[in-house]
């Protein structure tokens, strides 16, 4: 393939490359939310967790010179945010959706506050693997430069499918999410399982956030996430609480998010902002198409407040 032959193919290629790049935070947040929701809780605060992860990952990478340490720190902060959500929701009569909204605002505000000193300096970034070593086309090289964290996410999705289906932990998680009474009767600590599941969800969402600041777009700023976290929560519903479908849905959303920039790169500027809103419009359209007031969604954990 020569450079000349590529022509208008650069748009789908850029969308494909963008899908892989943009989808990573969607993938991590949706897998995390999948774990949390399987246990019967919904955490809308992952938007705040995502931004906190982006900020703390960037800061730790800056101080330690190790981006992977930043990823780990972001996960740790995510666990703390999850712990906060999980333990407040364990109090009587506290609504998990409302706490999620509160933590979303709190997380974004706190990241903004603590992240002020890190807006200027450059932190070391995460490495990526070039899968287009065989080609000389710069567009192809750009599209097939795949970040290692994305590959971790790709491996994580089938692992979670397997874990939910066959491991002891997966079964306990699903029992708690399907019927708290049954889980109690079997002697499992419902509240503890849910708090742990929320922490696990926060861990993954924090990692997703570190991808934002440590790879793409690749710098910390206050408005680094504009709703990716909440879109990913909606994506779990669309993916029917199936980690494998979460992966495909993330790619789809990533592609939608990459549409605006790739059209701009070939000189189509009209409707730039509307194309940037494509993931939100897509989410809304998919939710309208797939939800129904008559029946609960297939695959929905029965204890989930959102489907009751």
């Amino acid at each position: 393939m020569t450079i000349e032959a590529i022509g208008w193919w650069s748009v789908p290629l850029a969308v494909l490359g963008g899908a892989v790049r943009v989808s990573t935070p969607f993938l991590f947040v949706s897998l995390g939310e999948c774990i949390t929701e399987k246990a019967g809780r919904i955490n809308l605060g992952l938007e705040g967790t995502l931004v906190m992860g982006a900020m703390s990952g960037y800061a730790v990478s800056y101080f330690s010179n190790s981006p992977w340490l930043g990823v780990l720190a972001a996960g740790g902060v995510g666990i703390l945010m999850g712990l906060l959500h999980g333990s407040i929701c364990s109090l009587q009569r506290v609504n998990d959706i409302a706490v999620g909204i509160a933590l979303m605002l709190f997380g974004v505000g706190l990241a903004d506050y603590l992240g002020k000193p890190f807006i200027q300096p450059a932190a070391p970034q995460l490495p990526s693997i070039n899968f287009a070593w065989w080609s000389h086309s710069p567009q192809l090289q750009e599209a097939l430069k795949i970040n290692e964290l994305f590959l971790v996410g790709v491996a994580l999705a089938p692992f979670l499918v397997w874990a939910f289906r066959t491991t002891r932990w997966g079964l306990i998680l699903r029992i708690v999410g399907e019927s708290a009474d049954a889980a109690r009767a079997l002697g499992y600590p419902v509240t503890a399982v849910r708090v742990l599941a929320t922490c696990a969800g926060g861990f993954l969402a924090g990692i997703g956030g570190s991808f934002l600041s440590l790879y793409y777009p690749g710098a910390w700023s206050e408005r680094i996430s504009s709703g990716q976290g909440i879109t990913a929560v909606a994506l779990v519903i669309f993916a029917r609480w199936n980690p494998k479908l979460c992966f495909y849905a993330s790619l789809l959303f990533g592609g939608a998010g990459a549409l605006g920039p790739s059209l701009q790169s070939v000189g189509i500027h009209g409707g730039y902002y509307l194309f940037n809103a494509a993931p939100y419009i897509l989410t809304l359209a998919i939710m309208i198409a797939t939800c129904s007031p008559k029946r609960t969604l297939i695959g929905a954990p029965a204890e989930l407040s959102i489907t009751k």
């Binding site: 109090l91 009569r93 409302a98 909204i101 505000g109 909440i230 939100y280």
Partner: protein
């Protein structure tokens, strides 16, 4: 409201029916004030610890907050000006909450209402001020109302979760705003910062005589009062509260839930849309990215802090207006980032929600017979 029903159900039977109900009611009234106030105090304490960890004296922070919110005539006016939009965006969450819906789309309704008002204002530049102002208000109300009503309609007829859909609508509204002010609706003269043409100086709604506070404050207070009357003293409000408390009972007595959902969501969105119109017509004069103010998100907190009671929104909005008014002083004198007040708001929000757990559990607030 749902909480009241839950409390009534979970509280054990009073020992004596003759004396307990009146005492219980008195206790519940005190509880409705004392529990949020206590949660607010805890949040202030946590914020004090938070700034102390950053090496700032918490007492100085509290001092500057009082000074920045109410220390002078200037700061009082600043507080009231910031409270004005919160009165209306608070209603955007509080009204649908009567039905048990959790709408967080106030920001989107605010933006789309402001945008529609600016379009109407620019189109009617040559009309008399009163006509233009009424048309702008109508445009803001209609746009904001339809924006949130669509989230309610999607919930009722398609089962789409209203919290997620209304949040997504926020981002879509902002995208539409940016698209228009950078494209079809852009004033060619706005070079560095894209914005729409001006609505015209004569069409601006002015300030309350003797103050710098615009009329939005009065409009907001009036609307909170009207919302209270609607919820407490009309059949629509009664129906909404029944549906919010027990949807099956509401169906059984023949309420048309769909109409109620769309109407109440429309009214909530209309309030936020009107706030957007006031932002254009009293503050900014033209639509630009600057009308994405965050008032919609603060309105969510206002509604929760007021426990979705429209009258309680008035003092709560003034309180939060005061907190955000003090941000400038904290930044100038103590070097705290401007996000400090947002952090405090987040802490208040979390504490308020956590305080839901202690309703009906403090013996001395329940009256003698209610809880042994």
């Amino acid at each position: 409201m749902a909480e009241e029903i839950a409390t009534a159900v979970s509280a054990p039977q009073p020992a004596s029916f003759a004396t307990a109900p009146s005492r219980w009611r008195l206790g519940a009234g005190a509880e409705a004030v004392l529990v949020p106030a206590g949660a607010f105090a805890v949040a202030l304490l946590l914020f004090g610890i938070f700034v102390a960890l950053a090496g700032v004296n918490p007492l100085a922070v509290y001092g500057y907050m009082v000074q920045g919110a109410a220390g002078s005539w200037f700061s009082v006016q600043n507080t009231l000006t910031r409270a004005a939009p919160l009165l209306l965006t608070g209603l955007c969450t509080a009204l649908p909450a009567q039905l048990g819906l959790m709408i967080i789309g106030g920001e989107g309704a605010f933006v789309i209402g402001g945008l529609a008002a600016a379009l109407a204002g620019v189109a009617l530049r040559d009309a008399t001020p009163l006509v233009a102002q009424l048309a702008m208000a109508a445009a803001g109300i209609a746009a904001g109302g339809l924006w949130i009503a669509s989230a309610g309609a999607l919930r009722y007829w398609r089962g789409v979760n209203e919290t997620i859909s209304s949040l997504l609508l926020n981002y879509i509204a902002i995208a539409i705003l940016n698209q228009l002010v950078e494209g079809a609706f852009r004033d060619p003269a706005s070079l560095n910062k894209p914005s729409s043409p001006s609505i015209g100086d004569v069409h601006m709604i002015g300030s309350i005589p003797g103050t710098e506070v615009h009329w939005g404050l009065v409009i907001g207070v009036v609307f909170c009062g009207l919302a209270y009357l609607l919820i407490r003293h009309t059949t629509i409000g009664f129906g909404a509260r029944i549906a919010g408390g027990n949807i099956r009972a509401a169906r059984m007595v023949g309420l048309s839930i769909g109409k109620l959902v769309v109407l109440i969501c429309f009214l909530g969105g209309a309030a936020a849309g009107l706030a957007g119109m006031i932002e254009i017509a009293a503050v900014q004069e033209r639509a630009s990215a600057d009308i994405v103010t965050g008032y919609g998100y603060s309105g969510i907190l206002v509604a929760f802090l007021a426990r979705h009671n429209p009258l309680a929104i008035i003092p709560v909005a003034i309180l939060l207006g005061g907190i955000s008014a003090s941000g400038g002083l904290l930044q100038r004198h103590l070097g705290l980032p401007d996000a400090a007040t947002v952090v405090l708001q987040g802490m208040i929000f979390v504490c308020i929600l956590a305080s839901d757990a202690i309703y009906g559990r403090i013996p001395w607030l329940q009256g003698a017979g209610a809880r042994a």
